[in-house]
């Protein structure tokens, strides 16, 4: 049949050739709830090619830090992964303390662990809730937003702000727990666990959700490692790499918790891993509150922290030192250090270089969602346009953290 047609000069393939349609998705598309632009080449509904363009939320974090004093960088780290700001504060503070070579007292380590886990919960609530929202489950989304609201009120009573916490300082913290905090935690976590169960009932066994999330946006273990995946997306492929377990910092080696690990690395595994991590974070916070010792929350060495107001308002030397510290910033010894912390999306690394001055010479953030988003074309090419949405959600690109 084909030969006769060719003799007659009629080529079916040519006649039925379809053209692809190129579409700009973003940077302000409802599904891209960060500012990112996809340049999609669609063949009907299947994605032939996707070019991810980031950088819309680039605020020159590093250039800003190089002009700031060591302690002035903290408000900028708040605005990296704004769904879980304290994790960035803790990461930067620990990198600086590693560069100096000091260790914060026990109570401060417990407080930092506790507030990091609360921030991780807030990050996961936002991400999993938005994932359910993008697939249409509006009520489930609002349940997690309610859980996050209650959690934010808790964080606000500790740090002073709901989103931009600015709670950690080099060598310690700004303030201690408010009174009545433990009862609030008990009340809020009871309500959050109920909301977690509601969310779980509504979605995890719902076949519509299963069909949408399963076998979409999958990646193999080898590819995940090659692309630099870390965090829930890597654990979803089955690699049990979590900085809290691999290289324990703060007091994670005294905590008793599980690392959820998936099997195939598709969207449903990422969803389940994040859901399980919310529960684990809650138990860590409770363990921290139970084991937290009394004592100072700042390191004793006066060079690296604000002198206590008693000294600086009564004695002369601390006042002079207070002025020098504020105007010039702590002079951190020359050297470089890399400290990795388990952020909400993966390994959040801080690489600090100091040439002895009051200002950081180089303050590099290793953004976990940067590596995840670079692999988006691999996850999505060949699948349907509608699969791009859950995949993009489960990668959890946070504009602030990825574009810095």
């Amino acid at each position: 049949m084909k030969e006769e047609n060719r003799e007659k000069g009629y080529d079916f393939h040519e006649a039925s050739r379809t053209e692809t349609m190129t579409i700009n998705m973003g940077p302000s598309h409802p599904a891209t709830h960060g500012t990112v632009k996809f340049f999609l080449t669609l063949d009907g509904e299947t994605i032939e090619d996707i070019d991810v363009e980031i950088g819309y939320l680039h605020r020159a974090f590093e250039k800003e830090c190089e002009a700031q004093k060591w302690n002035g960088v903290f408000p900028y780290t708040d605005r990296l992964d704004y769904t879980a700001s304290v994790l960035n504060n803790v990461g930067y503070a620990m990198a600086a303390e590693k560069l100096i070579g000091i260790e914060v007292p026990e109570r401060c380590q417990y407080l930092r662990t506790m507030i990091s886990e609360m921030a991780r919960m807030s990050g996961h609530y936002t991400n999993v809730g938005a994932g359910a929202l993008e697939l249409g489950a509006l009520t489930a989304f609002i349940y997690f937003i309610e859980a996050r609201e209650l959690l934010w009120d808790l964080i606000e009573s500790v740090c002073g702000a709901r989103l931009t916490h600015n709670y950690v300082r080099i060598g310690g913290l700004t303030n201690d727990l408010p009174d009545g905090f433990r009862e609030n935690v008990k009340r809020v976590f009871a309500k959050n666990r109920k909301l977690w169960d509601d969310f779980d009932i509504m979605l995890t066994k719902n076949r519509i959700f299963l069909d949408r999330m399963r076998d979409t946006g999958g990646i193999s273990q080898k590819d995940a490692i090659a692309w630099g995946f870390t965090g829930p997306c890597l654990r979803a492929t089955g690699v049990p790499y979590d900085v809290r377990r691999a290289q324990p910092y703060l007091v994670y080696d005294r905590m008793n918790f599980d690392i959820p690990v998936g099997t195939t690395g598709d969207n449903f595994d990422r969803y389940l891993v994040r859901m399980e991590e919310i529960k684990q974070s809650m138990s860590i916070v409770e363990q921290c509150l139970a084991q937290m010792p009394e004592g100072p929350i700042n390191v004793d060495d006066a060079r690296w922290r604000m002198p206590s107001k008693d000294d600086s308002s009564t004695r002369m030397e601390p006042l002079i030192f207070h002025f020098k510290q504020v105007i010039e910033g702590p002079s951190i010894p020359v050297g470089e250090a890399y400290q990795a912390v388990e952020g909400a999306n993966g390994e959040l690394g801080y690489y600090l270089v100091s040439n002895g001055g009051g200002k950081p010479w180089k303050c590099r953030v290793r953004p976990p969602s940067f590596a995840l988003t670079s692999a988006l074309p691999l996850l999505v090419k060949g699948s349907l346009l509608a699969d791009l949405i859950p995949t993009f959600d489960m990668i959890n690109l946070i504009g602030g953290e990825c574009d810095r």
């Binding site: 740090c159 700004t174 066994k205 690392i259 389940l272 100072p296 107001k309 504020v326």
Partner: protein, 191 residues
């Protein structure tokens, strides 16, 4: 202190019930209906027994006021001492510590030799409410009040606060001053 690995249940082979859409959809809908029943009950209880019984979490904002925790960082304000003058001695530490550098002070001396700020402008459009000014102030003169209303204006020039609009008598800020004293002053906790 074991950190062990927990395999996540992927629910690969769906049970027959799950493969049929309806049962688990009804279970999901039952959750939503339960929430609405509880909330409706809450509304009636609220009519009978007052606000505390309300199950819904929304706060009727203009009518009801959210209770602000002591650590809250609202609008930075200058403390006006009991004798009517400002507690600030124009040392410029807050100006140096402010990351977006939105404070600018011109200092001066009173006839009795006491330093005071002739002009103290705080640029409300740049302030990020980070609380550094309050942290570094040696005289407890600038304090993060718990005001969050009326911070934005339609016209930028109105958001440049001068000394007069920043001054707030000490009585109103007592709660915040106690928290700061508790935060930075308490000897054993801070040492």
């Amino acid at each position: 202190m074991a950190i062990n690995i927990k395999k996540v249940d992927r629910n690969v082979t769906m049970t027959f019930l799950e493969r049929m859409y309806i049962p688990y959809m009804l279970h999901g809908m039952w959750v939503a209906v339960r929430h609405s029943a509880v909330n409706m009950l809450g509304f009636f209880e609220e009519i009978l027994a007052g606000k505390s019984k309300r199950r819904v979490m929304t706060l009727f904002y203009p009518e009801e006021y959210p209770e602000i925790p002591p650590a809250y960082r609202g609008k930075p304000v200058l403390v006006r001492r009991d004798d009517g003058l400002e507690a600030c001695v124009a040392c410029g530490l807050c100006e140096a510590a402010c990351p977006p550098s939105c404070i600018s002070i011109i200092g001066g001396e009173r006839d009795n030799g006491e330093r005071f700020p002739v002009s103290y402008t705080l640029d409300g459009t740049r302030c990020i409410y980070c609380g550094f000014c309050e942290e570094v102030c040696p005289k407890e003169a600038i304090v993060m009040s718990d005001r969050f209303q009326g911070l934005c204006e339609y016209d930028r020039s109105k958001m440049i606060y001068d000394k007069e609009s920043l001054l707030v008598p000490r009585r109103e800020l007592q709660r915040r001053l106690d928290t700061i004293r508790n935060k930075y002053f308490s000897e054993e906790r801070y040492r």
